[in-house]
Amino acid sequence: MSQNGKCAKNVNVGLAERLISTIVGAKLFTSGLSNASTYGLLKAGIGGLLAHRGISGHCSLYDRVGAKRQAPALSHPLSRQIRVIESVTINCTPEELYSFWRDLRNLPLLVPQIQSVQVTDSRHSRWFIDESSCPVVSWDAFITEDEPNTFIEWVALDNDKVQQRGAVEFVPAVGDRGTIVRIDLKYHPAGGALGAMVANFMHHGPSQDIRNRLHQFKQLMETGEITTNESPSARMTAHDERTQDIDEELPESHTSERAELADVSQNPVVADRPALSGAETTT
């Protein structure tokens, strides 16, 4: 699974460049065709090549000069499938990481939008989503491959239709660096492939989201807790803060929500401070 698909192998143009290449190419192509001269045809030809390069994500020139670039989100812009491959190195053994992951009930810790996971049997489970965060409220998941301490592969089904294929592998890292956790997700995003492509270009897309989740998985496994800057307490609850996409919206500043704070700030004496409450983000 660490090998990229056929389409991914040919992609050597970055996402932003592909978008620009496609738009500029299409423009040249149409304006070239409207001018029936040699110059016009030449323009249309160049436009066509640029557009093809943008859509396919492959540039022969880059191949020749050896400027091979890997697109991080291995998604084909015209297919309706998004593919994300991300990895992180965690200072734990493959056994520790696999066991956390294999107990599916742990996963809502990493994705707070998931309210709960109901494990039906060793391979089947049903996932429930916080209604406010997603129009889909539940789906079934089926583990298709399970190699202890090494590899898990699954599909997520909505009305028996495959919505997502995912796999995670645990590979010992070189030296004393722990274990490489590599995630490979293929799914059909809301807003179609183009929406996801633009979102990814804006760094708010699936790649960044998965990378943030992996950071939090690493934090949890290495330190026992998910890092948060929440403080003072009146800003947001730990849960609220974790549910928002870190990169999409900067966490609220420490004191900006002044209106809500008035009553809390009447609490200057140390002894009055509430003791450690249920705000814990670890288990």
Binding site: T89, N91, D176, R177, G178, H203, Q208, R211, N212, H215, K218, Q219, E222, T223, G224, E225, I226, T227, T228, N229, E230, S231, P232, S233, A234, R235, A238, I246, D247, L250, P251, E252, S253, H254, T255, S256, R258, L261, V264, S265, N267, P268, V270, R273, P274, A275, L276, S277, A279, E280, T281, T282
Partner: protein, 388 residues
């Protein structure tokens, strides 16, 4: 509680804000007894560091008393007196385990943001922009300290706050800057910037065996303080730094150069003016006049050590000279945790009293005035301590 909050360029206000509470099990709440304004806080004050938000609590140099600990903090007790490293470190990632605490993998909750800009994320810092964690800072009455079982350093000795406060940042920062110079007997070290970090770099260079230290600045009180530490000085307003340094070192150049200035370098040379214009036009972010000068004058095969903060992009970086002269460049935020026991020993054996840099003391209520004075370098201001 009271806290010094950032509201925009040169706009600091002391506001009444809610007190912090424990969030994670490895947290502690510290009641701040003393805090200081760092030279790098002035980069925030002047609006050079991106991702600040209105209302952010400033301050990364602070110490105080433990008032509450989470169940995961076994090494601290309520009432313990601690200094808190400004870099937040988890203690368990590969970087922490190899003593590179300021590169901790786990302490920046906004790591994704830093990755977009830097490729990877450094550790989170207290009160130093959302890019570096968005943590509330210590220029306040109380602070939540994450990973409190790793960071806070207990002060058992009967020493006043002012003697140990600078263990949080500027003393280790100056010390690391000098240590990075790999000083050998007979070495001459040049230090640009005689602010607090520069002052500690000068003292540390001597402690590590430097033969000569040459300090460069244009503020008379700072040059005077450097001379009191045993350094020779150059006032860059009156003298051509390159010529004088070469002359002082018999044409060889200093063995190592410390840039304790960073991204807001002043100067009246052509490249300094060019930098000012570019930054004003948003075509570059950092002014690297000192760095260029240090590379030009450094001895062949020498070291450039950079404790001064840089935040973004610089223009006209003299890579050719740096390569041609075989220089080593060393830089980064301070691995504070690594140095604390050693530096505490230096303080207790009276080889250094870090309070020598303090020139002004304010109450936390007057933080705005303190920032302004420090920024303008009025009244011989070198270092400001705020009492909470």
């Amino acid at each position: 509680m009271k806290a010094a909050c950032w509201f925009g360029k040169q706009d600091i206000r002391v506001e009444d804000v809610p007190e912090p509470t424990l969030v994670n099990s490895r947290d502690a709440i510290i009641r701040v007894t003393s805090t200081a304004i760092c030279g790098s806080d002035l980069h925030l004050y002047d609006g050079y560091i991106p991702t600040m938000k209105q209302g952010d609590i400033l301050g990364h140099e602070f110490m105080g008393e433990v008032v509450e600990t989470g169940p995961g903090v076994q090494n601290l007790r309520v009432g313990d007196r601690v200094v808190v490293p400004f870099t937040i470190a988890c203690g368990s990632c590969w970087f922490c385990r190899t003593q590179k605490f300021s590169l901790c993998d786990n302490s920046n909750p906004n790591a994704g943001m830093a990755e977009t800009l830097y490729g990877h994320s450094p550790s989170g810092l207290f009160g130093y922009s959302h890019l570096l964690g968005g943590y509330a800072g210590g220029q306040a009455e109380y602070v939540r300290v994450p990973f409190a079982d790793v960071g806070p350093f207990k002060i058992n000795a009967d020493l006043p706050d002012e003697t140990v406060l600078f263990l949080t940042d500027i003393f280790p920062t100056g010390y690391q800057a000098a240590e990075q110079c790999d000083i050998k007997r007979g070495d001459t070290i040049a230090v640009w910037g005689c602010g607090p970090v520069g002052q500690f770099a000068i003292r540390s260079a001597f402690l590590l065996g430097a033969e000569r230290v040459i300090a460069i600045d244009d503020v008379p009180e700072r040059l005077e303080m450097a001379r009191a530490s045993g350094a020779e000085t150059i006032d860059f307003d009156d003298e051509a730094v390159y010529d004088v340094l070469l002359d002082m070192t018999g044409g060889m150049g200093p063995d190592a150069c410390i840039d304790a200035v960073g991204l807001e370098a002043h100067g009246a040379t052509l490249d300094a003016i060019y930098d000012r214009v570019k930054v004003a036009a948003y075509m570059a972010t950092d002014r690297a006049h000192v760095l260029r000068q240090a590379i030009r004058v450094c001895r062949k095969g020498g070291t450039i050590s950079i404790p001064g903060v840089y935040g973004g992009l610089i223009d006209k970086f003299p890579m050719g000279p740096a390569f041609g002269k075989g220089l080593t460049l060393r830089m980064g935020q301070t691995h504070v945790h690594r140095y604390l026991p050693k530096l505490m020993e230096l303080i207790q054996s009276e080889q250094i009293d870090p309070s020598f840099v303090i020139t002004h003391r304010f109450n936390l209520d007057d933080a705005a005035e303190a920032y302004e004075m420090f920024n303008e370098k009025r009244d011989g201001c070198v270092k400001v301590v705020l009492q909470a």
